[in-house]
């Protein structure tokens, strides 16, 4: 990149920031780095500017690289980190207009980071980048000292359960058994005492039976470990495993922290990407309007913008759907297509041309960006019309009867079904809530896990692999209670064999 181009980019970055502020976006100083494509691919694969070595990052790097090599001249990739002072990477070999587009897109993301109440919280994990950087060398030393295989196995095992977290991503569960127990006893006693003194008009006094029940629970509580089930399985294992070495606890701690820092972002992926895309479009339009970019730039911009937002036959394209979502909300709220009058209106023609000049669109999209997770968005804004307009469908693999090849066909496109499927997918983000029920099962410090069943059965192969990894960390027999075919089922792994016991 020559000096002239760099100066022009620096100038445009300043102007983009001003435009963003004029549009009402929150901004802060962002560090942009112009780097080779390889650096961006690495940034994407390793989650942080620098991170420890692991084959899974290498796999993702390889994947991004393959895609990059097949897309030819430019890649619309950007990488931005939600740090106290956000940092973003721009590919040096990209055409100039694409660099500008990426900068505009990053300003959209940064507003989202500063605005959204889920992601905002993630900023408190800014230290995590430094932790990741420091871990790089420390883990290397562990490899030299304890063997690359042991380190890899430990990371593998940690990653196996790193996303097992409490559904509230910001809740820090009390992992210390005694502290948790004290707190529970305190709360329960307080409840008991308050109630025994007097009933209130809202609450009848506890019956003798209920009181006995609570007393029994209190006695029982003294033997429980953990006193209250813990969803943060990895956190609990780090704290209580009898076999983990200090260096392993260090490694696992880093693995756990990274997942905790990253998971809030996973809950707003569609909104975040949609928001950034929506705003890069507005900002770029403004730049063309101001003639800061020329006709040639416009061609490049058009190509890449449409490439990023094109329909995908076999993928849920976050950029396309997210962008359309904000455009749809903006239009509906500008026309006043909401509220009692609109909902009660039964004339489809009238509804189609509804416009009461409400002009509430901008206010609404900022509200959605601030307070909604992807799941909430699906519930509220994925209307039948929107799903139809997006032409979303469920596809399924089937066998071509004539050739025996696998082909993919549309299986379902009814809006209510698509909405349900998406909601499902966005509720748990593919995670299955599982909690540590007992860490002293059979009085032999065996680990008893319980799956909060919500209708989805586990993939058996993955389950066995995961239990094997948990065993590696806990080094005592591991149990997992779940549901299969509507019946309670107990899986176990003792280090050698997987066993399944069905409830008769």
């Amino acid at each position: 990149m020559d000096k002239l181009e760099l100066e022009r980019l620096i100038f445009l970055e300043k102007r983009i920031k001003e435009i963003a502020e004029e549009f009402g976006l929150l901004t802060t100083d962002i560090d942009f780095e112009i780097v080779p494509a390889q650096r961006v691919l690495e940034g994407m694969a390793y989650n942080f500017p620098k991170n420890f070595s692991h084959w899974s990052f290498g796999r993702d790097y390889d994947m991004h690289r393959t895609i990059f090599e097949h897309t030819g001249q430019g890649i619309p990739y950007e990488q931005v980190w939600n740090f106290e002072r956000p940092k973003a990477l721009v590919v040096e070999t990209n055409p100039f207009a694409l660099k500008v587009l990426v900068i505009a897109h990053v300003f959209g993301h940064v507003d989202y980071f500063l605005r959204n109440n889920l992601v905002q919280h993630g900023r408190s994990f800014a230290d995590i980048a430094q932790e990741a950087r420091d871990a790089t060398d420390r883990f290397k030393k562990y490899e030299e000292k304890y063997g690359a295989d042991e380190v890899e196995k430990t990371i593998d095992a940690g990653m196996s359960i790193q996303w097992q977290q409490h559904l509230d991503p910001f809740l820090e569960e009390e992992l210390d058994n005694e502290l948790a127990r004290e707190r529970l006893i305190e709360i329960t006693r307080a409840k008991l005492e308050r109630n025994s003194d007097f009933g209130s008009e809202f609450q009848s006094p506890l019956t003798k039976e209920e009181k006995d029940q609570i007393e029994k629970y209190l006695r029982h509580l003294s033997q429980l470990a953990p006193p209250r089930p813990i969803y943060d399985i990895l956190g609990y294992i780090i704290k209580h495993s009898l076999s983990l070495k200090p260096w392993q606890k260090d490694v696992l701690g880093v693995v756990r922290n990274q997942a905790r820092a990253l998971s809030p972002m996973g809950r707003t992926k569609m909104a975040d990407e949609g928001w950034a895309t929506y705003w890069h479009l507005q900002i770029m339009r403004k730049l063309f309007e101001e003639k800061l970019l020329d006709g040639n730039d416009h061609g490049v911009f058009n190509d890449f913008h449409s490439a990023v937002t094109r329909e995908s036959r076999t993928d849920f394209n976050w950029y396309r759907v997210g962008l359309a979502l904000f455009e749809d909300i903006k239009e509906r709220w500008d026309r006043g297509c909401f509220g009692r009058d609109f909902e009660l209106c039964e004339d489809p023609v009238k509804k189609a041309y509804w416009d009461n000049g409400a002009m509430k669109g901008k206010e609404k999209i900022f509200q959605v960006a601030s307070f909604y997770s992807d799941r909430m968005i699906i519930e509220e804004f994925f209307t039948d019309e929107f799903i139809r307009k997006m032409r979303l469908y469920l596809y399924q693999a089937e066998e071509d009867p004539s050739t025996g090849d696998t082909i993919y066909g549309i299986a379902e496109s009814r809006p209510e079904v698509i909405r349900m499927l998406l909601k499902h997918a966005f509720t748990l983000y593919g995670m299955m809530p599982i909690k540590v029920q007992n860490s002293n099962h059979n009085g032999q410090q065996q680990l008893y896990l319980k799956h909060d069943f919500s209708g989805l059965e586990m993939d058996p192969q993955y389950r066995e692999g995961t239990m094997r990894n948990i065993f590696y960390l806990w080094n005592r027999k591991v149990y997992l209670e779940s549901i299969e075919d509507s019946k309670q089922i107990l899986y176990s792994f003792d280090g050698h064999k997987h066993k399944t016991e069905k409830d008769k």
Binding site: M1, I10, E13, D31, F32, E33, I34, V35, Q38, R39, E42, Y46, S53, H54, S56, G58, R59, D60, Y61, D62, M63, T66, I67, M159, W163, Q164, S312, R313, T314, D315, F316, N317, R320, R391, L392, Y393, Y395, Q396, A397, T406, I407, Y408, I410, A411, E412, I418, G430, M432, I434, H451, L456, E457, M458, D459, P460, Y462, R463, E464, G465, T466
Partner: protein, 430 residues
């Protein structure tokens, strides 16, 4: 300045990507018995690069089942029931990305797994081929017909400049004078010197025009040597029983085994020929396609095939020029053991590299006891054999001749059978 160009190069991504690929290879290695029995590989055209898709590795985690691959949300035109295309693209979905392993790589992995080092040519029986003569260099003497005029002229010109310079040095006269004298003396240094020393010498040349000056030492001849090449070549004579009892599953096992044998031998030898013989009560030489497709009814005379093989070795593939591997697949039925044994002995007498016999007996599970009838048992009673059993396979070898007999019952036995075949002492000639 908010926009900077940092100066850094990292190799971490590449290094970790390599680790992932190595891990994938481990997975492939562990699954070799299944992978090599994969029908797609075997039925593919030979010599075509065959790619085996290998999924990228995933960290196991608790995740819902039944949502596996091939299901997802997409968008675009279409109604339920419409086909949207083949394999989903690898645009964003990382589960779908597959690495491809080429057959070559797979073979490397198998060799590695079999504990075979990279094969070296010199361990093989090589055959001396006389291809006439070839020029291998330049020498100072030889018959006139091999005179290399270019090289000789080059030497002569060197000599010319050499003489000219010494004349200048000797006499202190100009280059043109010296050249003139050298020219008039026709390249004789002594005569030229005498001419120059003669005060009456008249210079007639107008410019220096170099010409080659030869002494006997300047002649250059081609060096000609006999052209000998050491080549490793092999022939595989593949024989198969196509009588009524050889149904598809048996043939499939035979075909798989043969595919890998050929693939390996192609790796070892520069030239591998394959000849196909099918037999029932009669034998005939056929092409590859016919070999696998023919299905005849009726009984079986194995000796007919061995007879033909003997003929081929005698007429087309003498063991002095070829490494000969004969492989026979049958289900053991044979109506004339005695004649078969006779033909087998003839083959051994010709010093072939190896006779392999695969008795195909599809069965649900591996049975260590060899059948007590059929060709295998006939061989056992005719020759002095050794029986070796491993947890995967039972085979017999002969004490005196290069023979390997295996009973193949399941797909999973292909790899162990190959492993036995590939043990170095079997395919090299001492």
């Amino acid at each position: 300045m908010p926009i900077t160009i940092p100066d850094m190069v990292s190799e971490q991504g590449k290094a970790d990507a390599k680790r992932h690929r190595d891990k994938q290879k481990e997975v492939i290695k562990n699954n070799l018995p299944h992978i090599i029995a994969n029908e797609n590989i075997i039925t593919g055209k030979r010599n075509k690069i065959i790619k085996i898709p290998v999924k990228s590795l995933q960290i196991p985690r608790f995740r819902p089942g039944q949502t596996g691959d091939g299901v997802g949300i997409g968008q675009g035109e279409g109604e339920p029931g419409d086909v949207i295309g083949g394999r989903p693209g690898s645009e964003h979905g990382q589960d779908i990305i597959e690495t491809e392993v080429e057959l070559e790589e797979l073979i490397d992995l198998m060799l590695e797994d079999l504990g075979l080092p990279k094969l070296e040519e010199k361990q093989l029986k090589t055959i001396l081929l006389e291809l006439g003569y070839k020029i291998t260099g330049i020498v100072k003497s030889g018959p006139w017909t091999f005179l290399n005029s270019r090289a000789t002229v080059r030497e002569g010109l060197k000599r010319f400049w050499n003489f000219l310079n010494s004349l200048i040095q000797e006499t202190g006269l100009s280059e043109l004078n010296c050249f003139d004298a050298l020219k008039k003396s026709q390249g004789d240094l002594g005569d030229a010197l005498a001419m120059l020393r003669n005060p009456d010498f008249q210079v007639t040349a107008e410019r220096v025009e170099p010409f080659p000056v030869f002494t006997k030492d300047d002649l250059r001849f081609e060096k000609v040597d006999p052209n000998i090449s050491y080549q490793s070549q092999a022939v595989i004579i593949a024989m198969m029983d196509v009588s009524g009892s050889m149904y598809d599953q048996k043939k499939y096992l035979a075909r798989s085994m043969l595919f890998w044998l050929v693939t390996f031998l192609q790796r070892i030898y520069e030239h591998v020929e394959i000849r196909f013989i099918i037999h029932h009560t009669q034998a005939k030489i056929v092409d590859e396609d016919t070999f696998f497709k023919t299905q005849e009814s009726g009984g079986t005379y194995c000796y007919t095939a061995y007879e033909l093989a003997n003929g081929l070795v005698e007429e087309e593939y003498p063991t002095s020029q070829y490494n000969v591997y004969v492989w026979h697949f049958s289900d053991g039925e044979d109506f004339d053991h005695d004649r078969t044994m006779g033909e087998i002995k003839k083959l051994f007498a010709k010093k072939i590299n190896m006779l392999g016999y695969g008795e195909i007996e599809p069965s649900e599970k591996y049975n260590k006891n060899l059948p007590d009838s059929g060709l295998m048992s006939a061989i056992k009673s005719e020759f002095s054999t050794q029986q070796v059993s491993t947890p995967e396979i039972t085979m017999i070898t002969l004490k005196t001749d290069p023979f390997l007999g295996v009973v193949i019952q399941t797909k999973e036995q292909l790899l162990p059978a190959l492993k036995e075949f590939l043990r170095k002492e079997r395919w090299t000639n001492g």
